[in-house]
């Protein structure tokens, strides 16, 4: 009974950690540019595919992850520079379509480069399950949760302790004011895309041994990441992390106790329920419209 619950919680936290990284990615980009980047899932896919295919051709795992990460960052910067930056003043829905166009484009390229079939990546430290209070856990889950935790803390430090991080935060609060004090707002947008891409790609690499990699793996992960970001309150970093974990755990519990077929619906039911009562998410700012 308890062991079962614990089992669901653990698998929920594992996938929730990936949602948290994706959600954080959405929030970072949203803060810098007020764009919802629907290509966020593609960064995860690039990380997963690159590390799986590169290791298969003999590249050592850490280098493979690094290359995947760098590739995703490059792609992120290109999307920001050639699509988002040029459409600055377009409407919300136009920007959404631009990033969806980018995600279709990236999936197309990925299919061309890597093909449509599933790619396998070996677990980083074996597959002997770890027993824990009656529940068993794949060592890879520890890798996922641990990596996510390190990245999240690093991101927190980055935003609070470094000048670049503070510049990004300043831009998110007031773009014009940031510009006036000499922050290069365009570079902030590029940096935020690169950062989000790195988060996504590393997440994709560590989760790949659990989910397998395929060119469409980013679609649902991306949407769940968006859900996590909205659940926490758009632009609220810690909120996105909490949102990701909540969605992950709720999904695992739903799959375990209710119906595994409806697993993917859980996140969206939660978000609808929350938005009903808290239209700005759990931790979002409650602004009064100025007229």
């Amino acid at each position: 009974m308890f062991a079962e619950l614990l089992q669901y919680m653990l698998s929920g936290l594992t996938i929730g950690a990936i949602y948290a990284l994706a959600g954080l990615g959405f929030s970072i980009i949203y803060n810098a540019s007020h764009v919802i980047n629907f290509a966020q899932g593609e960064f995860i896919m690039i990380g997963g595919m690159a590390s799986a295919t590169l290791t298969a051709s003999g590249v050592p795992l850490p280098l493979a992850i690094l290359i995947g990460c760098g590739g995703a960052m490059l792609v992120g910067v290109l999307v920001a520079k050639f699509a988002v930056e040029r459409a600055r003043n377009a409407s919300t829905v136009t920007l959404i379509i631009i990033t969806i166009g980018a995600s279709i484009f990236l999936r197309g390229v990925a299919e061309l480069v890597w093909g449509k079939d599933f790619k396998r990546l070996d677990a980083f430290s074996g597959e002997t399950p770890i027993q824990f209070l009656g529940a068993s856990m794949q060592p890879q889950s520890l890798w996922v949760v641990g990596t996510a935790a390190v990245l999240i803390v690093a991101i927190g430090l980055f935003f609070n302790r470094t000048l670049t991080g503070k510049a990004i935060l300043a831009t998110s609060h007031n773009r014009l004011a940031a510009q006036l004090v000499g922050i290069d707002v365009k570079r902030v947008v590029l940096a935020s895309f690169a950062l989000s891409a790195a988060l996504g790609a590393i997440g994709g690499a560590v989760v790949a041994p659990i989910t397998f990699s395929y060119t469409e793996m980013g679609i649902m992960l991306g949407l769940k990441g968006f859900t996590a970001a909205v659940l926490g309150g758009l632009g609220h970093g810690p909120g996105a992390v909490a949102g990701g974990l909540i969605v992950g755990v709720a999904e695992a519990l739903g799959a375990g106790y209710i119906s595994s077929a409806y697993k993917d619906a859980v996140a969206f039911v939660i978000i609808l329920a929350v938005l009903l009562f808290m239209p700005n998410g759990l931790f979002g700012k409650r602004g009064t419209e100025r007229v």
Binding site: T288, E289, R290, V291
Partner: protein, 274 residues
């Protein structure tokens, strides 16, 4: 702030013999806070029907917040707003509009996705058939009344001096014209009480005088007007009564002469603009 003391007060509006109408708006112990900061605190005053009643005060005195509270854009934290004898505190703006209250905005709120004429026609909303099925199937009665609304909107635009912009896109109009467009739109709803939030802000002297004339003409038709305005010459010239605010609280109230002579008011203005 020399202006306060030396403004020549036109005798016609200041005549002591003028009959004071029944109260159309009563604000009782109204307050509103934002994150612990009191924007309006324990404010009470009454506006008499038929008056041009101005609200003055230095920047940050809470004038626009007061407008937002009275017109239902914000909900009060405490106190009441009575309109035409009924408690309307926190009532949605569209319901207040149906009861005869409309307003303009300090920062323009124009429908930039429409023509100027259509902007004013939206103001006729309450007087037209706005149901779905008649619209979908273009009932003849709806089309006929819509045509009348169009003529009426064109007339209103002419009344505020916008005849040359009738076919213009709102997005292509200059600032001064948009200020008047807001007034025409509000008038199209046939309000009993019209709140004007800085109608002359950003206008040159000539334009200001023209707005001044528009306001007087509207008031002459029996519409009660509450005016927020920084142009003291305009305020002193056309107001029947003035309420002065400072930091969300009542500072003084009375006729323009009384308020202009009030030591607190002068101090507040001098203090705010050293």
């Amino acid at each position: 702030m020399k202006m306060l003391a030396t403004t020549d007060l036109s005798p016609d509006t200041m005549s002591q013999a003028r009959r004071v109408g029944p109260p159309i708006l009563k604000v009782e112990h109204l307050s509103r806070e934002f994150g612990g900061v009191l924007a309006i605190g324990d404010l009470s005053f009454t506006v008499a029907a038929g008056d041009i009643h101005s609200i003055i005060g230095p920047n940050g005195a809470g004038k626009t917040t007061l407008f937002n509270l009275v017109t239902g854009v914000y909900k009060p934290s405490g106190g009441r707003v009575l309109f035409d004898g009924a408690d309307v505190s926190g009532m949605a703006p569209y319901r207040l509009a149906a009861r005869g209250m409309s307003r303009t905005f300090q920062n323009l709120q124009i429908f930039f996705n429409m023509t100027a004429l259509e902007n004013v026609m939206v103001g006729r909303h309450l007087h037209l058939n706005t149901r779905l099925l008649p619209a979908l199937f273009r009932f003849p009665s709806l089309v006929r009344k819509d045509r009348e609304a169009k003529d009426r909107a064109a007339q209103l635009m002419a009344d505020v001096g916008l005849e040359k912009y009738i076919d213009a896109d709102a997005a292509s109009m200059p600032y001064g014209a948009l200020k008047r467009l807001e007034i025409a739109r509000a008038l199209a709803s046939e309000p009993k009480l019209l709140l004007l939030d800085e109608p002359a802000a950003g206008l040159n002297a000539t334009e200001s005088r023209e707005i001044d004339e528009v306001i007087k003409t509207v008031a002459a038709t029996g519409v009660t007007i509450i005016l927020v305005e920084h142009d003291m010459k305009m305020v002193m010239g056309i107001s029947h009564r003035i309420t002065a605010l400072n930091q969300g609280r009542m500072l003084a109230e009375g006729t323009p002469q009384e308020v202009a002579a009030n030591a607190d008011v002068i101090a507040a203005y001098l203090g705010a603009a050293p």
